[in-house]
Symmetry: C2
Subunit: 328 residues, 2 copies
């Protein structure tokens, strides 16, 4: 996204308007896009983020730029949404990029890797990492379906399975899988996992703070006016903050209700955490030696992770630790 050039143009327009203050008539073409989500409609936060995005684009364009939002399986299977954008079957997809690490592991860095960044750190990295913010920068990175944390689980002896959110409950119920991870208590309760899986382990070290992404077809995006490009960018920022806030706000009550209804909380044993951490670091080193895309992006990511953990250890953790031990 050529953010700087937008700003320059706005600045020029501003200078003109300041002197002449003309009543500019502003004509934008009415536009209609389809968005394919990887998530089921039942999850109002994660699926809802695409709805928040689409509604915001509509509001910001005075109702002229309209995006219809389609749940996983409606016009596209959960893991087919990015192919659909590439084929121009839909203009935009809302998904978790690590589903597509199979063609290039680098995509996992756009969402979450085991022992990666937490949510606020991820935002800091993405906002400042200008060169990977736009679709153009994604070119050359190939994609396929997968789940990246599974690679580390494999290394510590587990058998990972990649299943869309809406299909996890039946798989647990039928015993096709023994365990599952999803976003957190609010969704887990909604999806009814506690009915078929009474033990609840934390923390989710395979994704400290995952981000979701909107993938937009290159031609569709390039055809947008600078104003509509800004609209898409701002609506995505709103959807990002909004989804994080909704999860944070709803998770505590869900956690209490899960525990109240018999779910047992376990902290992952230190040995498991340490073995998984070691396996992750080894895997990242191996990837760096054979995947140049990964190496380039991971080096920056790892630098930020080291810096952020230093920083969070002081100001942030010292405050949070104190608060968490008080009677509130």
């Amino acid at each position: 996204m050529e953010r700087r050039s937008f700003i320059t143009r706005t600045g020029l327009a501003g200078a003109l308007a300041a002197t002449a203050a003309p009543a500019i008539v502003h004509a934008q073409t009415a536009l209609r896009w389809r968005l394919a989500s990887s998530f089921p409609k039942s999850l109002d936060t994660i699926f809802g983020a695409a709805e928040v995005f689409a509604k915001k684009v509509g509001e910001l364009s005075g109702g002229k730029f309209l995006i219809s939002v389609h749940a996983a399986g409606e016009i596209m299977p959960a893991f087919g949404v990015v192919d659909a954008v590439q084929n121009a079957t839909v203009e935009i997809a809302h998904t978790a990029p690590y589903y597509f690490f199979g063609k290039d592991e680098t995509f996992a860095l756009g969402c979450a890797i085991p022992f990666g960044l937490n949510s606020r750190q991820m935002t800091a990295w993405m906002v400042e990492r200008k060169e990977i913010k736009s679709l153009a920068d994604m070119k050359g990175l190939k994609m396929r379906i997968g789940g990246f944390g599974g690679r580390v689980l494999e290394r510590i002896g587990a058998v990972p399975q990649n299943i869309p959110g809406g299909d996890i409950y039946p798989a647990l119920e039928k015993g096709t899988i023994d365990a599952a991870e999803w976003v957190g208590p609010y969704d887990d309760q909604k999806l009814g996992f506690n009915k078929v899986a009474p033990n609840y382990c934390y923390p989710g070290w395979w994704e400290g703070g995952p981000q979701l992404d909107f993938f937009i077809n290159t031609k569709s995006y390039d055809a947008l006016t600078p104003e509509y490009k800004a609209v898409v960018e701002a609506a995505a920022a709103v959807a990002h903050t909004d989804m994080q806030a909704k999860y944070d706000y709803r998770n505590p009550a869900a956690l209490k209700q899960l525990v109240g209804s018999g779910t047992r909380l376990f902290r992952f044993p230190k040995e498991v955490m340490e073995a998984a951490f070691k396996a992750s670091q080894e895997m990242y080193a191996e990837l760096s030696s054979k995947n140049a895309n990964w190496k380039k992006v991971y080096e920056d990511y790892a630098r930020v992770r080291a810096d952020q953990n230093l920083w969070f250890r002081f100001a942030e953790a010292a405050f949070d630790d104190f608060m968490q031990t008080q009677k509130l």
Copy 2:
């Protein structure tokens, strides 16, 4: 902000456009606002947040809605910006509401109170706290200049002084004050505090995750079209995320440089933290008994704080603690 009604209207327009797809000509009046900031131009993150906001409003409106941003002292003193909005001298102010707790302490809850919410928790509370998101909801809450953490400092024996950001360095240098707090390492280094104050204490318990606010003159805001109201809301969300990310990204390097140049880091002793915590809780209870506005908002805030600390103690702190003790 009547967010729901915007969405309904957009939804209707969407339904019409879907069937007829008319090439609507969209006329918005060119508009020019002035924004008065409480912060000095030298601080690119905190002052910059208002610039990010203004630029985004410009981009989103195709250069028709323009906001000029003025630093503290330029057209208004740092602590005069909210009065200026009330008097309609400027349309909009960018400031920290706790400067104005003197007329009603409730305002501090819109920014930061000692032992309050951390940054992500604050976002969750504000996003979900619909009834205090709009200017209309602020009516009846009176304002004056102040700094809220000072009230607790007073209770534990210190003498608080409220000084705008740009005036802190000379006050430290002259010895008018013995100590100062500002946002964090990045700004502290920029403002040169380390040259006159070598000891650096953490965590900043008087504001776990302060938020800044845009105050908009009621008449100016009411005169906006629904599209421009959405533009203002989205631009504020972008500025919020952007400023947090910039601080998080820049603070680690600044902290390392400060320590490298001789600044000594101290963790506040547990006794100090506990005395300050106790004094805070007593003060909040006293305020609840004599200020109905405070009681109403604080009860909701305190409920969220208890829930959030429960939640952050599990999933978030368990992950962060582990990461902070690894060699990265």
